[in-house]
């Protein structure tokens, strides 16, 4: 390595120096979104803003419209006005896809609202369904209710997909009677 080569390298290095000296020393501040969502009594799972209400067992949004669930999944919903007195109807809009019926033949869905069990439903055919159940006023005494869903079976991970797949969910809601 000659002295002239070293000189060239030094010039290249120094050429970068002004870039750094003119930079601000403080951290850049990014704005936050302060108008946050409120607890909803109906959640469309494709809405990223309701994600905090999807407590567990939901995978990423697909097709801007739905999510796969795991074998167990849970959600928190706001108790709608008047539901504490008159009760409410739980409506879970789901799809049982062909692949699920092909692999599992049947699939049963059961649920509980704040620990109170709800009658299960068994699906033997592919298609879109509404899992609807009445919730008694006694189960809706608080301002929110935690709904736990449980499938009797789920598709095991495979074909490069590491997820355990249950059913496809579009929305979950409570409607005051």
């Amino acid at each position: 390595m000659t002295v002239s080569s070293l000189r060239v390298l030094l010039i290249v290095a120094l050429a970068f120096a002004p870039l750094s000296c003119k930079r601000a020393k403080t951290v850049h501040v990014e704005q936050t979104e302060e108008e946050g969502p409120r607890l909803a009594s109906v959640v469309h799972v494709s809405d990223p803003k309701v994600e905090p209400q999807l407590i567990s067992g939901f995978y990423a949004i697909e097709g801007n419209a739905w999510r796969w669930t795991a074998k167990q999944f849970s959600v928190v919903l706001r108790v709608p006005t008047g539901a504490a007195q008159r009760g409410a109807t739980l409506d879970l809009a789901l799809t049982v896809p062909q692949v699920t019926i092909d692999k599992l033949k049947t699939i049963s869905l059961s649920a509980s609202a704040d620990g109170h069990p709800l009658p299960p439903e068994t699906y033997t055919q592919t298609g879109q369904f509404d899992y609807k159940r009445d919730l008694a006023p006694g189960t809706l005494a608080n301002s929110s209710v935690r709904l736990e869903f449980q499938l009797d079976k789920a598709m095991a991970p495979g074909n490069g997909d590491l997820r355990e797949l249950g059913v496809i969910v579009r929305s979950i809601g409570l409607d005051a009677k």
Binding site: S5, F16, R23, E30, T32, E34
Partner: protein, 622 residues
Amino acid sequence: MTAAARSRQLAYWLTPPLVCLLVHWWCFQAWFRADDFAWLGLANTVHSSHDLLRALFAPEAQGTIRPWSERGFFMAGRALFGLDSLPYRLVIFATAFADLTLVAAIGRRLSGRPAAGFWAAILWTVNSTASEPLGWACVYNEVMCGLFLLLALYCLLRYIETGKPRWYVWQWVVFLLGFGALELNLVYPLLAAGYAALCARKHLARTLAMAPVSLAYFLVHTAVAPPPASGDYAMHYGGPMLHSLQVFWAWSVGPTYMETPLGWPKSDLRLGVTLITLALGWFLWRKVRERRYAALFPIVWYLVVIAPVLPLSRHLTEYYPFLPAIGLCWLGGWAFAEAWGKGGGARIVRRIAATALSVLYGVMVLPQTLKADEWNYELTERARHLVESLAGAHARHPGKAIMLSGVDGPLFWNAIRDRSYVLIGLDHLYLPPGSEKLAGTDASWNGVGDFALAGAATAHALAHEELEVYDVRGPRLRNITSLFAAMPLDRSLPLRLEGGDPLADDFFGPEWYPIDGNHRWMPKWATLRIGGPAQAGQHLYLHGYCTEQQLRAGPLEVTAFVDGSTLPVSQVTTGEFELMLPLPDADAGKAELHVALGVSRTARPPGDPRELGLAFGQIAVR
């Protein structure tokens, strides 16, 4: 020198750095992540010259002492440029360019072929082990250590060439300074001796004169910072070292982790690695037959430089072969240059074979290098987005605590665990109750328990408007405090109270003094509430401090009552202490424990009106 020759020379020296910049452009643009924040935060601990010395030289993570490449690099960078990553990158890449220049300079001397040095530098810069040293600021120590090792060796070569003592002196200076970059520097006397034994035997004795320095460094370092006996950084000698060598060799001549985004099966990659290994072996055998023993030096370099990390068989890290790989690149560059050089038989066959093997190497390593560079860049961008958004949230809600919802493992590991938020003036950051259950589910979540806020503390903070909750999913941090407050919360009491945590105030009794940095003092007696143990056999853990004044009259006695039961009295004999007091089995399953702590002697430091008993950093049930 003619203009054409000058241009050729310029291209010779500038091409490797330009290729490096081009290949590692993602690294050049990367921000900070993970351990970087711990080093950047070191500047916050310096308030005096004593602090500075401690920050520069006290053993830190895994007992490392790297004043130039870690402590000094980050502290100076933070003081001069804050969290602007560009100046750090300029330093890292400038050092890498110097490394490449030295690789070329030494490679041409070893082989006697300028092209060999050039190709060695090119082969090294595309190697996928370079991704982290160039893209992750806290691995700068590798790049800097390379500079010291290569520069010292270059000085030795120049000394042997010219006989001028100043080169020998400079070698010593560089060698000694190299200890401030990385512990690996201690292998240099072996490298120098290896070169002398192979190429300049009359200088062997002079190179060995450096060995006692390395030995002394090793002994002092081991005494000051003994290697851990367990965990990821424990040393495993014997058979595991051969396995480490096999893995690192494959990552040196093939892609790291033997993976490629091209989707090649591992068997194909193994075949590629085997072919290149055989080719290097064949070339080496030929050189030995020709009595060109300098060709053995690259192998000496590889084995000597990789040797210290071989016992770390449970921590096979992708950048460990970064510096050793220089040796193989020298050999590969030499072989390639010779195949394309003049003379010898079967010239066309040699050229085709050398080109095919070089292309094979490039196809195996380059896509993985680019992928690893981009992966690292994306992680640093996630960290940058979070830290800058937290700065925005902190500015909007000064004095309030912040909790993050929706954090995933990689974000926790790369942007939260090492307390990046301290750098923007935020003292505490919390994760939602229950997050501690993620510990152990994935290595990324190690340490998550330190950030999970207990349900009772969360509910109290929300009710008193002391906490803002943000959802990190989505392009911007979204304030979900109202939504979060409306969700059902597990109201269990914390199992760990941090003395310096303002959100723990509610659990400390009225006797405690206000928070004092990362701890809080109690007078002679104080009370607190804490969650009960899940099962029998657990302890009340106390980590605290007392004054020297208190200890002058002998050990202090610490008394603890838990729900009316007296725990065994413990003694404190040092300024900082840890105590483990066994809890009664009857406390198992209790939701809440009422604890009273007492100390046998208090002190009143001059100028402080408080009667000081003990200060606690952490009180926990474990």
